[in-house]
C-alpha cells in the first residue's frame, strides 16, 4: 500500500520522530510509525490535534532529528499556521497530506486533488514551500526520502501530496538497500559567528541544533540573522522574506523535477499528476490504437511549478489537456506557464472517489480536437 511504502521510505531516510493525529485516509502511516519507531529507538507520539502534531515535529527537528507528520484535508488546514512557522524559522520538516474530498469533512474516504492550491498558498504572508506529488506506491517510498533531503538542504517544509488513490494503491514495491539510500546531512554552524537564519536568497544558513551551546534564538517574528526580533524594521523584514522565497526560487532548477512521456511530435499534450497521471499513461496507449499521438508532462514537484518546462513542452501542441480531481486548480498554473501558446482544456471530476478513467481522457481529447 502506498501509505505503507511511504513509512518504509521515511524510516530509510532516517526519520526518527513522528507526531500525528488520526485522520482518514492517512492513518495507516501513523499506525505503522507507532509500530516501528519504538523498535528503531525513535519517538512516536499521538498528539491531541493536528496543531500540536506539527509543532511537536518542529520542536523535534530543532534538536537535529528528522521528523514528520501525516494528515489529510481538515488536519492539513489546521497545520497551516505551524507550516508558516517552519517556513519563517527555516526548520526542515516533512508533512504528508493524503488528499481526500473537501471542503470541510467532505468525503473522508474518497480521493481528490483539491489541496493543490492550499499546499502552495495555505499560509498567510509571502512564502515558498516545496510540494511533491507521488503517483505510485514505489514513489511513495522514493519521493519520501527525496522530500527529507530537500527539506534539510533548503531548511524548508516539504509537503508530500499524494491523493487517496495513491495512498491506498496496492502495488509491488522494491525496497532499496539501506546503504544505497542517499541522505543529505544538515550543515551545522562551524563557529559562533556564523549567521543562523536568513541570507542572500541563494545559500542556506547552517542549521542551529538546540542544546549545543549556541544560545539559539528561534522566533517566528521578523528576525535578524542571529534570531533577534526586529518587528519594526522594514529592512530586516524585506531582507528575511526575500531570502525565504528566493532560496527556493533561485534554486528551482535543483528542486524542480518532472517526467515527459510520449513522442516529441505529438500534437496533443496532457499535464497530469498523482493518480490521474497513471490514467493519462493508460490513455496514451488507448490513443495510439486510434492513431492519436499523445505526450504527457508529469510534474513531480507541483511547487515550485515546472513552468518553464511546461512552456517548452507545449511548443507545437494543438491542445493541452489538464485532467484533475478538482474543479480546476493546477490547470490555472498550466495556463500561466504556457502563456497562451496553446489552448488549455481542463477535465475536472469530483466526488465519490471515482477516478478519472483513461477512456474518459481519450474521449475528452477527441471532443476538443474536433473544435
Amino acid at each position: 500500500m502506498g501509505n505503507e511504502a511511504l513509512v518504509v521510505g521515511a524510516l530509510l531516510a532516517n526519520c526518527r520522530f513522528y507526531a500525528g493525529y488520526p485522520i482518514t485516509p492517512s492513518s495507516e502511516i501513523m499506525n505503522l510509525m507507532a509500530k516501528y519507531l519504538p523498535l528503531l529507538d525513535g519517538v512516536f507520539i499521538q498528539m491531541e490535534d493536528e496543531i500540536a502534531s506539527i509543532l511537536a515535529i518542529i520542536g523535534a527537528s530543532l534538536t537535529g532529528v528528522r521528523a514528520m507528520t501525516a494528515t489529510s484535508g481538515p488536519g492539513f488546514s489546521l497545520m497551516q499556521e505551524g507550516l508558516g512557522y517552519a517556513v519563517m524559522t527555516e526548520v526542515p520538516i516533512v508533512l504528508v497530506d493524503v488528499m481526500r474530498a473537501g471542503p470541510s469533512t467532505g468525503q473522508a474516504t474518497k480521493a481528490a486533488q483539491g489541496d493543490v492550491m492550499q499546499a502552495r498558498w495555505g499560509r498567510h504572508g509571502d512564502q515558498e514551500v516545496i510540494v511533491i506529488s507521488p503517483a505510485s506506491a514505489q514513489e511513495m517510498l522514493e519521493l519520501t526520502i527525496h522530500a527529507f533531503n530537500l527539506a534539510d538542504k533548503y531548511r524548508v517544509p516539504v509537503i508530500l501530496l499524494p491523493d487517496e488513490i495513491v495512498g491506498h494503491a496496492e502495488e509491488i514495491v522494491n525496497v532499496p538497500n539501506e546503504e544505497d539510500v542517499f541522505l543529505y546531512h544538515r550543515r551545522e554552524p562551524s563557529s559562533k559567528d556564523e549567521p543562523l537564519f536568513g541570507g542572500d536568497g541563494k545559500k542556506v544558513a547552517p542549521f542551529p541544533v538546540l542544546g549545543k551551546g549556541l544560545n539559539v534564538l528561534v522566533t517566528g517574528s521578523t528576525h535578524t540573522e542571529f534570531g533577534y526580533r526586529r518587528t519594526q524594521d522594514p529592512e530586516t523584514h524585506r531582507k528575511l522574506v526575500f531570502h525565504l522565497v528566493n532560496k527556493i526560487r533561485n534554486n528551482r532548477d535543483d528542486i524542480v523535477s518532472y517526467e515527459i512521456y510520449g513522442e516529441d511530435d505529438a500534437n496533443v499534450g496532457i499535464v497530469a499528476y498523482g493518480s490521474v497521471f497513471r490514467a493519462a499513461l493508460e490513455s496514451m496507449k488507448l490513443a495510439a490504437k486510434e492513431g492519436i499521438k499523445l505526450k504527457i508532462f508529469r510534474p513531480i514537484t507541483l511547487w515550485p511549478a515546472p513552468d518553464i518546462e511546461i512552456y517548452n513542452f507545449s511548443e507545437g501542441l494543438d491542445i493541452l489537456i489538464v485532467p484533475e480531481l478538482n474543479t480546476k486548480m493546477y490547470a490555472l498554473e498550466v495556463e500561466r506557464a504556457v502563456r497562451g501558446m496553446v489552448s488549455v482544456f481542463s477535465l475536472n471530476k469530483i466526488g465519490g472517489g471515482i477516478p478519472i478513467y483513461p477512456g474518459e481522457i481519450l474521449s475528452f481529447i477527441k471532443k476538443n480536437m474536433r473544435r
Binding site: 507526531a19 519504538p38 490535534d49 509543532l55 511537536a56 518542529i58 520542536g59 505551524g82 539559539v216
Partner: protein, 281 residues
C-alpha cells in the same frame, strides 16, 4: 564615581543577554521578578543554562526568555509552546525544557495542549504567568480574569468565571502543581528548585500584576494589588472551607506526585517492543 551603566547585575552576561538590557518590560511588571527567581533556582541547582531550552508562545510573559535569556530559546506561535516543548524534550531527553508563557497563551488558545501535556506527564516544566488579562494586545478578557473585573473587552465588567488552574492541573494529572504571587519570591524560588529536580509534568502558576493594562483599568495602584496579594492569599495547606468560600486566593503546593515521567515510561515501551519483536522473528 561609578556610572550607572557600570553597575551590572551578576546575571547579565551569564544568564541574561547583555545586548538586550535594560529589558523592555513595563515598570512594576512582575515578569522579571519571576525571571529572577527562576534563574536563582537554576543557578543553585545547575550552575548554568547549559542543556536548558526555554520555549514560549506569544505575549508579554513569552518575552521573559526570548530574547532575554542567554540560552537556547524558542519563541513559537500563540498557544503552541507546550507541543513544541514536547517535541524538543522527546527528541532529545538530555535537555531541560521549560515553558514560560502567559495565561492567555497557555490557558486559552493553548488550553488543550496544557491539559494533555499534564495528562501525559510529559517531562517539562511550565511556568504560567497569570496577569489576569491579555497585556500585549491592549488588556482584553482572559480565561483568568476575575468576575466583575474591567478589561478593554469587558468595559462593563466580566460576567465569566475564571479557570482555577491549579485545580485543573491536579485533575489533569500533573506531577507537581504550585501557585504563588510575585510577592512570594522566596517560596516561588523554592518551588522552582523542587520542580527542576523532578521528572514528569510540573506546573507553576505565578500571579503577577499587569500595571499598564489590568491594574490601571481596574482603578487600582500597583501597591493596592500587591497588598491584595498579601492580604487575600492563604496557603492551600492551611486554608479552611470558609477561606475558600470567601474567595481567598490559594497559594502553595497543590500536589506533589511521584509519578514516573513520560520519557521513562517510553523507554520501557521501547525495550518491551524489542522483546516482542525478537520473540516473533
Amino acid at each position: 564615581m561609578t556610572k550607572n551603566q557600570d553597575i551590572i547585575h551578576p546575571f547579565i552576561g551569564k544568564y541574561l543577554r547583555k545586548e538586550v538590557m535594560p529589558h523592555g518590560m513595563c515598570p512594576g511588571c512582575g515578569n522579571m521578578t519571576i525571571a529572577n527567581a527562576l534563574i536563582r533556582a537554576i543557578d543553585k541547582k545547575f550552575g548554568s543554562f547549559e542543556k536548558f531550552v526555554f520555549v514560549s508562545g506569544i505575549g508579554c510573559a513569552a518575552w521573559i526568555p526570548s530574547p532575554h535569556f542567554l540560552a537556547d530559546t524558542v519563541h513559537v506561535l500563540h498557544g503552541r509552546a507546550i507541543p513544541t516543548a514536547t517535541g524538543i524534550k522527546l527528541a532529545n531527553p538530555e535537555l531541560n525544557v521549560i515553558v514560560i508563557s502567559g495565561d492567555g497563551d497557555l490557558a486559552a488558545i493553548g488550553g488543550n495542549h496544557l491539559f494533555h501535556a499534564a495528562r501525559r506527564n510529559i517531562d517539562i516544566m511550565v511556568v504560567l504567568v497569570n496577569n489576569f488579562n491579555y497585556g500585549m494586545t491592549g488588556g482584553q478578557l482572559a480565561p483568568t480574569t476575575p468576575p466583575e473585573a474591567k478589561t478593554i473587552t469587558t468595559p462593563y465588567g466580566n460576567i465569566e468565571e475564571p479557570f482555577n488552574l491549579p485545580a485543573l492541573m491536579v485533575e489533569a494529572g500533573a506531577n507537581y502543581v504550585a501557585r504563588w504571587t510575585i510577592i512570594h519570591v522566596l517560596q516561588l524560588e523554592k518551588s522552582f528548585e523542587k520542580a527542576l529536580e523532578m521528572e514528569g509534568f510540573r506546573f507553576i502558576e505565578v500571579l503577577s500584576p499587569c500595571t499598564t493594562r489590568y491594574v490601571r483599568m481596574n482603578l487600582m495602584s500597583i501597591e493596592e494589588l500587591l497588598e491584595h496579594f498579601k492580604k487575600n492569599t492563604i496557603n492551600v495547606k492551611v486554608a479552611s472551607e470558609e477561606d475558600i468560600r470567601s474567595g481567598k486566593i490559594l497559594v502553595g503546593e497543590f500536589i506533589y506526585r511521584g509519578r514516573e515521567g513520560y520519557l521513562s515510561r517510553y523507554s520501557k515501551i521501547k525495550e518491551n517492543a524489542l522483546k516482542i519483536w525478537r520473540s516473533k522473528t
